[in-house]
């Protein structure tokens, strides 16, 4: 039996995982049934009757935010890139204090079911609800596609279930939770999932630290020697190169969190501002703790599982967490953790779908189409139809995007949330002179600039649109590198033989015997077919080059050979430069447009408001203040 292939149950139908998963599905469906009986009014459907406590909402917020992508993705990033993965996890957390200081209380006091309630509070309802619904729906859809494609891929990796079936199962369950149980069921699904995820990750971290005598120092010591990066594994690396890129991405992460509709919506489920702020405190604590666990899991996996094994199963490292669970807790724990990851995906997409359905029904249908005149029964019915519509769209798009690189969609989600939703929301709460035109223009500006710039950025323009050109250039570069290396090596090795015919013939014969032996060795040793073909090709290229060099040496003297060696470098560098020039270039230089699209949204909002003042809205601002700060007249 070859030893290079690791023994793992990952990717096979794991009975433990299926058992745990069925237990999760049954218990959540029971909750949904119970919730369905309690969901009668719009307040129940959108806001769980405003009966969620601060602690419960904190868990639910954390549940909404801790996606499988962050659980598996960050552990994977840390296990393959080390410190750079840690940088990412910090960025995901820092938006939460902002949500608390600037938004949580005004949202609770001014809003009813969607953040558009708050933006349109003293402004003209229809245009703002239309714009805000557009912002919400685009954010929800892009995030939903990213989650769905991720879900299909992960479930396939973990259980060996076909991509399409995984997506349909996820979509069907998500639709049932939302349609029958509304916000009450969605909240409890989040709470259960958050509890499972936090406890599962905690157990995994305890088992990991146990291997290092519960010493982080020891873990890092071994991590630095376990990977080819060595000490560099514990230092910031190539993730952040230009300060401007770092700043722009940081802004999008920080303020994008404060513009996610499914997060904002949770502030309408608590009874008062006290519970609203308490829930952010708990959520920030849970999420911060979760990221510290995830990073520990990543470093632990790098040592205890090994990068080679992790990347052998999935190049992105996504299976680092499950592999570590299998290594430490066997098949049973792997099954548990896989089921938790599936539950995580389900919970996040349910929250997103509910937020999208609310924007559609409460803002577009009731606010825009029906001019605010619709019965509760009607509104809930439309929300349920929208849920099915969104669910089916998500399933279809998820399948359509199969195998595509969708990483950019998460960046797009956060850029749009930070640029379209957050500026309008903040200005409507804080700025007396904000007008309807300012809000509408700000939302559409943020939405369009973030989208267009991201398409023109390296993330999409180079990595997605011009992927084939990029891959071609990179392949050419690799060939150039290999050729140069092979040639200089051969020249250095054989230059003494220049002009000596018999010595050269001997060397050529030796090279030919050597390559046959080498090929045989690779065939015996390497079991992976693709890997084997690659290694054989590289060995052949090296040998062919050596023979070529030797044949060339026949007509040279020692001095010419020396000169050829010296000339090789500038020639190689020139060729590399020429090839590199063909690399497709992004039209917009930054990987994330956050800094420009946010600035534009604020600027346009301010300019439009100042150019055409709205005295009526200014007057209403004072009344809004009573409700915002004192809670007088807030929805109960």
């Amino acid at each position: 039996m070859p030893t290079t292939v690791p023994q793992t149950m990952i990717g096979q139908a794991n009975p433990t995982a299926i058992m745990f998963f069925i237990a999760f599905v049954i218990s959540t469906l029971v909750i949904t049934y119970w919730a369905a009986k309690r969901t009668k009014t719009t307040k129940d459907f959108y806001a769980a009757g405003r009966s969620v406590t601060g602690f419960q909402n904190g868990l639910a917020l954390a549940g909404d935010y801790m996606s499988a992508a962050s659980f598996l993705g960050i552990a994977g990033l840390v296990s393959t890139k080390g410190y750079d993965g840690l940088i990412y996890s910090v960025g995901w957390l820092v938006g939460w204090p902002i949500v608390m200081f600037l938004l949580s209380e005004p949202l609770r006091n001014l809003g009813k079911y969607t953040f558009a309630d708050v933006v349109s509070y003293r402004l003209s309802q229809r245009p703002i609800r239309a714009a805000a619904a557009a912002g919400s729906l685009v954010v929800v859809l892009t995030y939903l596609i990213a989650q769905m494609v991720g879900a299909g891929t992960l479930i396939k990796l973990m259980f060996g279930l076909p991509f399409e079936i995984a997506i349909v199962v996820t979509g069907a369950l998500m639709i049932s939770y939302v349609i029958f149980g509304g916000m009450i069921a969605t909240t409890w699904v989040q709470i259960i999932k958050a509890g499972l995820l936090l406890s599962g990750a905690t157990i995994l971290v305890l088992m990991t630290l146990n291997k290092f005598g519960f010493s982080y120092g020891e873990l890092f010591k071994q991590a630095s020697s376990a990977t080819p990066l060595g000490q560099k594994f514990l230092e910031p690396g190539g993730l952040v190169t230009s300060p401007m890129d770092a700043f722009s991405l940081g802004l999008a992460l920080m303020f994008g969190t404060a513009g996610l509709p499914h997060i904002l919506m949770r502030f309408f489920t608590v009874p008062d501002v006290k519970a609203a702020r308490k829930s952010v405190f708990y959520a920030t604590g849970f999420i911060g703790y979760f990221y510290i666990l995830t990073v520990t899991i990543g470093f632990g996996a790098a040592v205890l599982v090994g990068q080679k094994v992790i990347m052998g199963i999935d190049a992105g490292g996504n299976m680092a967490g499950p592999l570590l669970a299998e290594a430490l807790g066997g098949n049973l724990f792997l099954g548990f953790l896989s089921a938790v990851a599936f539950a995580t995906i389900l919970a996040v997409v349910s929250g997103l779908t509910l937020a999208g359905a609310s924007a559609f029904s409460h803002d577009l249908y009731v606010g825009v189409i029906r001019h605010g005149q619709a019965s509760e029964k009607d509104e809930v019915r439309v929300a349920k139809i929208a849920t099915v519509g969104l669910g089916v769209t998500a399933i279809a798009l998820g399948i359509l995007f199969k195998g595509q690189n969708v990483a950019f969609l998460v960046g797009l989600t956060f850029s749009i949330a930070a640029s379209a939703n957050f500026p309008a929301l903040l200005m409507s709460i804080l700025w007396k002179k904000f007008t309807t035109a300012g809000a509408v223009l700000s939302i559409y500006t943020g939405l369009s600039i973030a989208t267009v710039l991201l398409i023109l950025s390296p993330t999409v323009w180079v990595d997605v649109v011009h992927k084939s050109e990029k891959d071609a250039v990179e392949a050419k570069m690799k060939t150039l590198d290999a050729n140069y290396k092979n040639m200089t090596e051969a020249l250095t090795k054989y230059k003494a033989a220049a002009g000596n015919k018999s010595e050269i013939d001997q060397a050529i014969a030796a090279e030919q015997t050597a390559i046959e032996a080498k090929k045989k060795e690779i065939t015996e040793k390497v079991t992976d077919e693709k890997d084997r073909a690659k290694q054989i090709k590289a060995a052949e290229a090296k040998s062919t080059k050596a023979v070529e060099v030797l044949q060339g040496l026949a007509g040279m003297d020692a001095a010419t050979a020396e000169k050829a060696l010296a000339d090789a470098k500038p020639k190689y560098e020139a060729e590399k430069k020429e090839t590199g020039a063909a690399m497709p270039k992004a039209i917009f230089p930054l990987k994330n447009p956050g800094i420009y699209s946010m600035a534009a949204a604020f600027l346009i909002g301010i300019l439009a408001s100042l150019m055409a003042p709205d005295k009526d809205a200014e007057k209403k601002f004072d009344a809004e203040k009573l409700r915002e700060y004192l809670g007088v007249g807030a929805e109960d």
């Binding site: 940088i87 996890s89 910031p236 009573l626 809670g631």
Partner: protein, 104 residues
């Protein structure tokens, strides 16, 4: 006790004005602190990688960057705790005081 104030009178009430400006000041200061905390960290990554790459002590492999990243997470949470303590201890009482004036 004086007669209950109307909504319009409350808007001009010095206690209400003080409450609004206090709440906005606290929110602003904490937002700026969070901003400085996070972008300070990002700035170190962008401009001073060698600083973060230093070892904690000669016989440890742990770099200074690791506790700094973890502390950025922890301090973010501490800031939310500070806000809660302030709001529960001071803001809620001020709100109640103003609401009492309205007879609510």
């Amino acid at each position: 006790m004086a007669k209950n104030k109307t909504a319009l009178e409350i808007l001009d009430d010095p206690d209400f004005k003080a409450l609004v400006s206090k709440k906005n000041t606290v929110s602003l200061i904490l937002t700026i602190l969070e901003f400085v905390l996070y972008f300070g960290f990002v700035g170190l990554i962008a401009y001073n990688k060698p600083f973060l790459a230093q070892k904690m002590s000669p016989d440890s492999d742990t770099t200074i960057g690791i506790p700094i990243a973890v502390l950025t997470i922890v301090f973010s949470w501490v800031l939310t705790a500070i806000y809660i303590f302030w709001a529960n201890a001071s803001y809620d009482k001020d709100v109640q005081k103003v609401k009492d004036k309205m007879g609510g």
